[in-house]
């Protein structure tokens, strides 16, 4: 797994209003894992990604390696680096299995 890339057949967008709400909730110490901030459609079905998933998804442009994605995420979240890298790896692996991401 080197530079994951979004499946070009999937249409997607960031929900800005929702993203702002989630960031506000996180600042207030609330759990926001179950709140979608990115929507995407694959084979006619709509899916949502939460804030962290959405941020990884946005960075899967075929240009960044997993390490680089984790590097960028580390500037946004106060989480152990090893934990963050594992989370990125797990998430990307799952999305490759679903066919949402293409492994370069």
């Amino acid at each position: 797994m080197n530079k994951p890339q979004r499946n070009p057949e999937i249409v997607w967008r960031v929900e800005k209003r929702r993203q702002a709400e989630v960031l506000k909730a996180l600042e207030a110490g609330e759990d926001a894992d179950n709140r979608g901030t990115v929507i995407l459609i694959q084979s006619g079905m709509m899916h949502q990604l939460n804030l962290v998933g959405g941020m990884i998804w946005e960075r899967c442009d075929g240009q960044r390696t997993l390490v680089e994605i984790a590097d960028e995420m580390a500037t946004e979240f106060a989480v152990e680096r090893s934990e963050l890298e594992a989370d990125v790896h797990e998430f990307v692996t799952d999305l490759i299995k679903r066919g949402w991401l293409i492994n370069d």
Partner: protein, 321 residues
């Protein structure tokens, strides 16, 4: 994750069903706002191919990332205009209404010619039939046509209320009594069993008849999406919650789609949808149906507690189990 209130619609229908307006510049502004709004799918319905600026509108929409579906009747003028279009079209929907003869049923020869003519210029059309009281009985025939002519998709969208909401032509909207007649007809008629087209059926109750025993397959259905993932734009750029819910929310000639979708009127619509119709109380299938088409039922079925027009009444026992 439950579907929350979206920034803008995901799917829009844009109506071109009556005389083309003279404000082509306004249409382009509407197209820009739709594209800027991040809408995934835009269905141009009515007769969009008769618009003189259709090429420009399509370029604007697709440049903004929209996938465009176009309805057409397969007339010579439409075909000629379509041949000039260089923008990729996500799907071409051949409106079956033109091929229905009141006395003789479906004019399959004319329909076949239209399909072949569209294929000759590089399109593989889906067939579209808006269900009405007078055409429900023709569905089996259209399905057979699709099978025999290798038409891969048959779309049965929800009925609209009138053309651009100018008049409420509701007499032809199918009711549950009509659906019951169709259920019997469907059960008795020889049904095409192989190589059926993919069915795209908006109405739950019609879907139950044509695709029986698969209610659980609609588990992803999140209820009426009017004013959320779904929206409708009329001929004048006015945005409505959906094609079956005529309520102006704002105009794309003057406002962005995000602004319209942030309006109090839009949130009021969603609040109204969140209240379960009185006529659906005690129904065991409410978790699957979620009240059906709320736009039509709200406007036209107050007498039955705003129950879906195609629903005969609350179910006490799940017919699937």
């Amino acid at each position: 994750m439950a579907l929350y209130l979206l920034d803008t619609p995901v799917r829009l229908t844009w109506d071109f069903s009556t005389d083309p307006p003279s404000h082509a510049g306004n249409q382009l502004e509407v197209a820009r706002h739709i594209a800027d709004g991040g809408v995934f799918f835009v269905t141009l319905q009515g007769q969009p191919l008769l618009q003189s600026n259709i090429g420009e509108l399509l370029r604007c929409l697709t440049a903004g990332g929209c996938q465009v579906l176009i309805a057409c009747s397969g007339t010579a003028v439409e075909l000629s205009n379509l041949a000039q279009v260089s923008t990729p079209i996500h799907q071409l929907l051949l409106d079956a209404a033109r091929f229905i003869d009141v006395r003789n049923g479906v004019d399959t020869t004319l329909l076949q010619q239209a399909v072949q003519a569209l294929r000759a210029i590089g399109y593989d059309p889906a067939l579209m039939l808006t269900p009405q009281r007078r055409n429900l009985h023709l569905i089996p025939e259209f399905l057979r046509f699709c099978r025999d002519n290798k038409v891969g998709r048959f779309k049965l969208p929800n009925a609209n209320i009138g053309d651009s909401f100018r008049e409420y032509s509701t007499a032809d909207l199918p009711r549950h009594q009509d659906l019951e007649l169709f259920r019997k007809l469907w059960a008795e008629s020889p049904q095409p069993t192989s190589e059926l087209p993919a069915l795209d059926i908006h109405d739950l109750f019609l879907w139950e008849i044509l695709v029986p025993g698969q209610l659980q397959a609609r588990s992803e259905y999140g209820g009426c999406q009017a004013g959320n993932s779904l929206g409708h734009v009329d001929l004048y750029g006015m945005v409505h919650p959906c094609a079956a819910w005529p309520e102006p929310l704002g105009n794309l000639v003057a406002e962005s789609l995000f602004e319209v979708w942030s309006s109090p009127a839009r949130f009021t619509v969603r609040e109204q949808i969140s209240v379960m119709p009185v006529g659906c109380r005690d129904c065991c299938d409410i978790a699957s149906c979620l009240g059906g088409c709320r736009g039509l039922s709200r406007r036209l079925n107050q007498a039955e507690g705003e129950r879906d027009l195609m629903c005969p009444g609350p179910r006490r026992q799940n017919p699937v189990s």
